[in-house]
């Protein structure tokens, strides 16, 4: 049973016309779509694939953080748990913005209580966003750069929050719905801005119960949760296990009911064979993309002919066929997720280097370009990678096999994660490096910012002023049709110059026992972790 993800509704068409966008939720919980009647009670057991550095979602960027603590927190807005592409309210009940797109006003639901009994007010929202947007010295903020448009946040009264912007920002509402931007009680932030690295106090459907490092994280039902009759579960207990085969075995043996990230296809096949109907596999696309960053400053990669040859030498259509059964790398697309509202149409994509259907023609062209660039007898390159098998190493094995066919001999250098950062990506000490951008949503601000000159994630270290200019323009363009045009223009420039070598977009298998109801896997593994609507048909 694959969950179909509907294309984004065009949020901003509605917004531009109406100026007022009220949440469909407005105080009532999202409608439960499952046929059976929800059952109360039970503890949800899950396996989580990593351990986070800290518990503060503002300061972390790993799924391991958000999957553990999201059930304990509320956010200003949220992505609809049952329909990812829709933005609905969480602690905000309604919001409106001025015609110039520079003032957003949010009404805060009255009577929300934090787990310590205090009341959530606009001051807490402001304090939380102030910490995210301009953290005090010594405090990290992972998503600071998503809020460059914001001038200041105001809390004129306990029930109202106002965001004042320097310029209109098309991605603002989506960023405010980010699962990461939890609302913390102000009084603890005043005490210690790093308080939430080790403590969990929120207003979410579950209260923090216990955390054993390297082993378990537990939450229990919050009886005072502001949504009536939620959550259904009595609590949750998550086990941390970094070994994929162990997580798969835990699901098979019923020690855990759900794995929120991904299990490899062959493993899923085996689980299905053994457990049949007792298991549900939700296959979803993921906002994650495996490609190769090229160090544009190094010889010979500063030569467009060499870069173009490398991208022409990758047969993405065969890659999809070969890699999909191994690790889920499947979808062929440009720099924005295929299947999302931002995808580049196939006909347009096929005109770009490396996306042509006739691979022999592409290879001939690649060899010609290499010869022209001064490498008629081929080229030796070093491909750095992360030493994680799925999908990093599989992807590299395929790439190396492909490049042999155009006379490029690639030496594979898998590095541990720490070295992959510090002796590669972040220091520029690489020729070519496997690099997967992963995000919690599909907005162009997140996906195309990495190709601009100043961005810290521009690992290829190239600079194209046309890209910079287009990017700044699209970020301020509220009309989605116009914005899409600008975004595709950026894609075309990056791909035609082969500044970056895209590979494949990922799909994942979210595996859970059939008794886990009402969890709809989103096209990422960060959102929809609040679990307020999830219930267990049996223990």
């Amino acid at each position: 049973m694959a969950a179909r993800i509907r294309p984004h509704r065009t949020l901003f068409t509605v917004a531009a016309l109406a100026l007022l966008l009220a949440s469909a939720a407005l105080g009532t919980p999202p409608r439960v779509q499952a046929a059976d009647t929800p059952r109360h009670g039970g503890i949800l057991l899950a396996v989580i694939g990593a351990e986070p550095p800290s518990l503060d979602p503002h300061q972390e960027g790993t799924f391991a953080n958000i999957q553990l603590v999201a059930p304990c927190y509320s956010t200003l807005l949220q992505f609809d748990p049952l329909n990812f592409s829709k933005i609905i309210g969480d602690v905000a009940t309604e919001w409106k913005f001025a015609p110039d797109g520079r003032t957003y006003t949010f009404k805060i639901r009255p009577g929300i209580r934090f787990h310590d009994g205090s009341t959530l007010t606009a001051a807490d929202v402001k304090a939380s966003y102030d910490k995210i947007i301009s953290p005090p010295p010594g405090v990290g903020s992972f998503r600071k750069s998503s809020f460059t448009a914001i001038e200041r946040v105001e809390a004129p009264d306990p029930g109202t929050v106002v965001f004042k912007l320097k310029f209109a920002s098309a991605s603002l509402l989506a960023n405010l719905a980010s699962p990461w931007n939890a609302i913390f009680p102000k009084k603890y932030l005043d005490q210690d801005p790093n308080y939430f690295k080790t403590h969990v106090v929120g207003s979410g459907p579950f209260k923090f119960k216990s955390y054993t490092h390297g082993s378990t994280f537990e939450g229990e039902r919050n009886p005072d949760y502001f949504v009536k009759d939620r959550p259904y579960l009595d609590g949750y207990r998550f086990f941390i296990s970094t070994e994929t085969s162990v997580r798969a075995a835990a699901i098979r043996s019923g020690r855990a009911y759900i794995e929120f990230r991904d299990l490899p296809g062959p493993e899923v096949e085996a689980i299905r064979k053994q457990l049949g109907d007792k298991i549900v596999v939700q296959q979803t696309p993921v906002s994650a993309h495996w490609g190769i960053s090229v160090n544009n400053n190094l010889k010979p990669f500063n030569d467009i002919r060499v870069r173009k040859a490398l991208t022409l030498g990758l047969d993405r259509y065969t890659a999809s066929r070969v890699l999909y059964p191994l690790n889920g790398l499947k979808l062929i697309g440009g720099l924005m997720r295929p299947g999302s509202e931002w995808e580049m149409p196939e006909a347009e994509l096929q005109k770009l280097p490396g996306f042509g259907k006739d691979i022999e023609k592409s290879r001939a062209e690649a060899r010609r370009l290499l010869a022209e660039a001064g490498y008629p007898n081929g080229l030796k390159v070093i491909l750095k990678n992360r030493n994680i098998k799925l999908p990093y190493q599989d992807f590299a094995v395929f790439v190396i096999q492909e490049w042999r066919k155009i006379g490029v001999e690639a030496e594979h250098r898998p590095l541990e994660t720490a070295a992959w950062f510090a002796d590669g990506r972040d220091t520029g000490n690489f020729e070519l490096i496997v690099f997967p951008p992963v995000e919690f949503m599909d907005d162009p601000d997140l996906w195309l910012g990495i190709y601009t000159s100043r961005d810290s994630r521009n690992w290829g270290r190239f600079s194209d002023l046309r890209v910079d200019d287009l990017f700044a323009r699209q970020a301020r363009t509220l009309d989605p049709v116009e914005r899409r045009k600008l975004a595709h223009e950026i894609e075309r420039i990056v791909l035609e110059n082969a500044y970056y070598l895209p590979g494949l977009w990922w799909t994942r298998n979210l595996v859970h026992w059939a008794k886990v109801k009402n969890y709809v896997a989103p096209p990422n593994y960060y959102s929809n972790q609040k679990l307020q609507d999830v219930w267990l048909a049996e223990d």
């Binding site: 096949e269 994680i388 098998k389 096999q401 042999r404 594979h412 250098r413 898998p414 541990e416 002796d423």
Partner: protein
């Protein structure tokens, strides 16, 4: 702990035994140590496969046939194909090269360096001994994984790196064993007498100590061959060994082999058998060799 390998006090007497030809030795070994001879046979088979991999292997170990991902064992692919459609038999054959190279290079390098340190330490005594002993203690007490990691990140993931990473932990062990053997020779009244008679120090070392530490050296060398191959596999499992797509047994066993264990058991089972069989062969041989070389255990 030096006692893991018996001290050789009486090896000097070995040279008094009547000379035997190499053929006699082999025949005798097979007759008295059939288990060890079995091990020798396995090693021999591995050597042949490794040396002739180019000629014997039916396919290219690096290039997969995408139409044949996860193909079952068949007449064309005796041991099936892996997730990229690469022939498992071919990769096992080429893998024998790496296993043998790592095994021999690491244990030879590690043992030789260790033996040198041991002899120098025993022979010089005094401050040199004190210093070398501390160095050996430090290496012994240090977790191997972290050493391996250091080597891997400095030298990059290649076969040579693995050799160094595997060889380092062998050094202190070999040094310990050889040193105690050398010490017992040095303190032998006969050697002390020779020394007292004014024989040059170098001559004492060359004539008496070196021949007498040969037996423990060979014993520990063969004993380490098997564990070196295993260490390579463990490093690969932890992601610190050789890099894909190198056909290494350790790599073939690690990674997602566990994920494929049900869908395509041959991908992981055959390299597993190869590695176990290889290590088994080396250990059998080494064990019997120890029995044969150690005079204390010699019959009669």
């Amino acid at each position: 702990m030096s006692l893991q390998y018996p001290l050789v006090h009486e090896t000097a007497s070995a040279s008094l035994a009547p000379r035997r030809t190499a053929g006699d030795v082999v025949v005798n070994f097979i007759r008295t140590k059939p288990v060890g001879a079995g091990g020798g046979l396995i090693i021999l088979a591995m050597l042949v496969v490794a040396l002739l991999a180019n000629a014997l292997a039916p396919y290219d170990p690096y290039q997969g046939d995408y139409a044949l991902q996860f193909a079952r064992p068949s007449a064309e692919h005796w041991l099936g194909t892996d997730e990229f459609g690469r022939d498992v038999l071919t990769r096992i054959m080429y893998g024998a090269r790496i296993a043998l190279f790592v095994g021999f290079a690491a244990s030879f390098g590690g043992c030789t360096l260790g033996a040198l340190l041991g002899v120098v330490s025993a022979y010089c005594g005094g401050r040199v001994e004190l210093l070398l002993e501390r160095l050996i203690d430090i290496l012994l007490a240090f977790p191997q994984l972290i050493l391996a990691l250091a080597v891997a990140s400095v030298l990059g993931p290649a076969v040579q790196t693995v050799v160094v990473a595997v060889a380092i932990p062998i050094v202190p062990r070999a040094a310990r064993v050889v040193r105690s053997a050398a010490l017992s020779v040095k303190e032998n009244p006969y050697v002390e007498a020779v020394h007292a008679l004014g024989a040059a120090r170098r001559r004492v070392v060359l004539q008496h100590i070196i021949p007498n530490v040969m037996a423990p050296y060979i014993i520990i060398l063969t004993a380490q061959l098997g564990s070196a191959i295993l260490a390579e596999a463990a490093l690969s499992y932890l992601g610190l060994g050789t890099a894909e797509p190198t056909p290494s047994w350790g790599l073939m066993l690690s990674g997602s082999a566990a994920s494929y264990a049900e869908k395509a058991p041959w991908i992981a089972v055959f390299p597993g058998i190869a590695i176990s069989l290889g290590v088994f062969g080396f250990n059998l041989f080494g064990d019997s060799l120890r029995d044969a070389l150690d005079p204390k255990l010699r019959r009669g």
